[in-house]
């Protein structure tokens, strides 16, 4: 039996992948990419979770024995920022493409072919 969070994370990754593989609208593909990244982040956090423990903030009451793993949280902080950076750049490129081709349909954008 797989836990609810794992299930949610894998579903998000697969939904995002589905959007990337089948959609034709560029912004839709980027929405898919963004959802996929959220799924990956959720997966990383759930890997670091330890049942019954509290957040790794060691004020009164919380000891090292009762805190969850801080590393995945640090990793996800990084991953989220990287994700938004990629998204912003991708949208910029999409704007440039729209100015040139007046469409966001990837089937109609075919300047380069070998």
């Amino acid at each position: 039996m797989i836990s609810a969070y794992y299930f949610g994370a894998i579903s998000l990754i697969l939904i995002g992948l589905y959007a990337i593989l089948t959609k034709r609208n560029l912004l839709k593909i980027l929405v898919g990419l963004s959802i996929m990244e959220t799924g990956v982040n959720l997966l990383l956090i759930s890997v670091g979770y330890v049942s019954g423990r509290t957040a790794p903030i060691l004020t009164e009451g919380a000891t090292p024995q009762t805190a969850v793993d801080p590393i995945p949280q640090a990793l996800v902080l990084t991953a989220i920022v990287i994700g938004v950076a990629t998204t912003a750049l991708a949208l910029t490129v999409a704007i440039n493409l729209y100015e040139k081709y007046k469409t966001l349909d990837i089937e109609k954008i075919r300047g380069l072919r070998g």
């Binding site: 996929m36 799924g39 990956v40 997966l43 670091g48 750049l89 991708a90 954008i109 300047g111």
Partner: protein, 496 residues
């Protein structure tokens, strides 16, 4: 000198990139000379690190923050990393000179920043000793590469950048899932410690994690299913950037992949992953060579050829005997030199004559004799004619494949060389034996010197391969000998 100063390899490009907005105030003219100066200093630091590593025979371990490895992040500048950091710095230096002529699209200051950060990303990918830090550097490389690909702001450039971004996004997500699996079963992110604990890992998880990591890095390393971006990006990006892609960005990706896979050398998951790399590499070679055959745009043709060569290197790493790894690393070095020369020359032709299409190359021997000569030497070398450098690496690769009795790979290498011969001799024929009515063009002195330098390097390595071969063998041992790698990293005693 304190070996920790090797961290300047990372700190210097970063600092200089952040300084550019202030430099810009002094005027647009100073930016490119400033870029040249920075890469020159970087080359100096890289040369110092290279000398240090190869004279003492010990890798430089940089501890960030002064924490010992599994706790803090470490940079591992071993024989391989030292060699490639030097190559990266030198190629970047040449490309800054080339940029002065080749880049006329505004805004130059942003170009300079992205250029420095692309160099930084590749350096970091090769030097780092931590798997998540590798991801961060991979993203630095990738995102600056996206921006530089689209830098010309034409429709084609934006399209290529878009393809690259989408594939890169999929790749980085896969990579992170792989990292999550690895971390979930081992509890550490340090490469040396992963290697130490690898045998304790559940084989199913190890196999899945490795496959995901290989797929994630295949975007940067241009292996088959995820390299659709490469020819477009090579064709559409500014010429100096194309050189950087081909000369070291790909290699950094490939190195990272091989480093991670070899950490699992003693586990049952290893053979399966090697087969995966072999299959991907073979497909890359076949498809790359066949696509190169029908190109009329020379830059795009070179791009496909570059992809095919990367496939050959991947096949060498997939065979994974010490000899094959030696040969693959040798091929990496040679390919970096040759492709830097080729893309530089073709880019130079494109900016002088307006287009990198085959028509510009007709009668190039009359118009730009020196450039045509450089392209010819590069082409002959890639095909694998004796007395040129790539002959030796292809030859060693053949020997290594024969040693383990994989005749399929022998056939692959020979077939690839044959196809290369066809399209490169077509180019050479167009350059020397076809007429053109255009005037002779004055060739730029700086570029001529760079090109002649690279040509000389090709021929010197071709005639006396031994010194470079010795260097390369040390570098390859660093990659292959994982036990030594674990021993060299001063791991703190954090154990279960």
């Amino acid at each position: 000198m304190n070996p920790q100063y090797a961290s300047l390899l990372i700190a210097l490009p970063l600092f200089s990139a952040f300084l550019v907005p202030l430099i810009k105030r002094a005027g647009k003219k100073v930016i490119l000379p400033y870029l040249t100066l920075v890469t020159l200093i970087q080359t100096g630091i890289a040369a110092w690190a290279f000398k240090e590593v190869y004279t003492t025979g010990k890798p430089i371990i940089v501890l960030a923050g002064g924490f010992q490895p599994p706790v803090g992040i470490n940079l591992y500048i071993g024989h391989f990393a030292a060699l490639f950091v030097l190559i990266i710095a030198v190629v970047s230096f040449f490309m800054t000179v080339f940029s002065m002529k080749a880049i006329d699209v505004e805004p130059i200051d942003k170009y300079a920043m992205l250029f420095l950060l692309l160099m930084l990303g590749a350096t970091g990918m090769i030097a780092t000793g931590d798997i998540f830090n590798l991801f961060v550097f991979m993203e630095i490389t990738a995102i600056s590469a996206y921006a530089l690909t689209g830098y010309n702001k034409t429709g084609e450039a934006s399209e290529a950048a878009m393809k690259y971004i989408i594939l890169g996004g999929i790749g980085s997500s896969f990579f992170l899932v792989g990292v999550a699996l690895l971390y979930g079963s081992l509890g550490t992110l340090n490469l040396a410690q992963i290697a130490m604990l690898a045998s304790k890992m559940n084989p199913t998880v190890a196999q899945a994690a490795l496959a995901l990591l290989v797929f994630g890095l295949a975007v940067e390393a241009e292996l088959f299913p995820l390299n659709a971006w490469a020819p477009d990006a090579y064709q559409a990006s500014p010429h100096p950037v194309t050189v950087m892609f081909s000369a070291f960005v790909v290699k950094a990706g490939l190195y990272a992949m091989v480093r991670i896979v070899y950490l699992f050398k003693d586990t049952p998951a290893f053979m399966g992953i090697l087969n995966l790399i072999l299959i991907l590499g073979t497909l890359t070679v076949v498809i790359g060579e066949l696509s190169a055959l029908r190109q009329t745009n020379v830059k795009r043709m070179l791009a496909y050829s570059s992809i095919a060569q990367i496939g050959l290197i991947a096949v060498g790493f997939g065979v994974a005997t010490p000899q094959a790894v030696d040969a693959a690393v040798f091929h990496m070095v040679n390919h970096a030199i040759v492709k830097a020369l080729m893309f530089l020359a073709v880019g130079y032709v494109a900016i002088t004559l307006g287009c990198p299409c085959i028509e510009s190359f007709k009668g190039l021997g009359k118009k730009m004799p020196l450039t045509a000569f450089a392209i010819t030497v590069g082409a002959i070398s890639i095909v694998g004619i004796p007395l040129f450098n790539i002959f030796w690496s292809k030859f060693r690769l053949l020997l290594a494949a024969l040693q383990v009795g994989k005749t399929g790979i022998v056939a692959l290498i020979l077939g690839a060389s044959l196809v290369e011969a066809v399209y490169y001799f077509r180019l050479i024929h167009a350059m020397w034996f076809e007429e053109s009515k255009d005037e002779k063009v004055e060739e730029n002195l700086a570029f001529s010197i760079i090109m002649l330098l690279l040509v000389a390097l090709i021929i010197v390595i071709g005639v006396y391969p031994e010194p470079v071969w010795n260097l390369v063998q040390k570098a390859a041992t660093d990659l292959y000998n994982v036990a030594n790698y674990i021993k060299n990293v001063p791991l703190l005693g954090v154990s279960p």
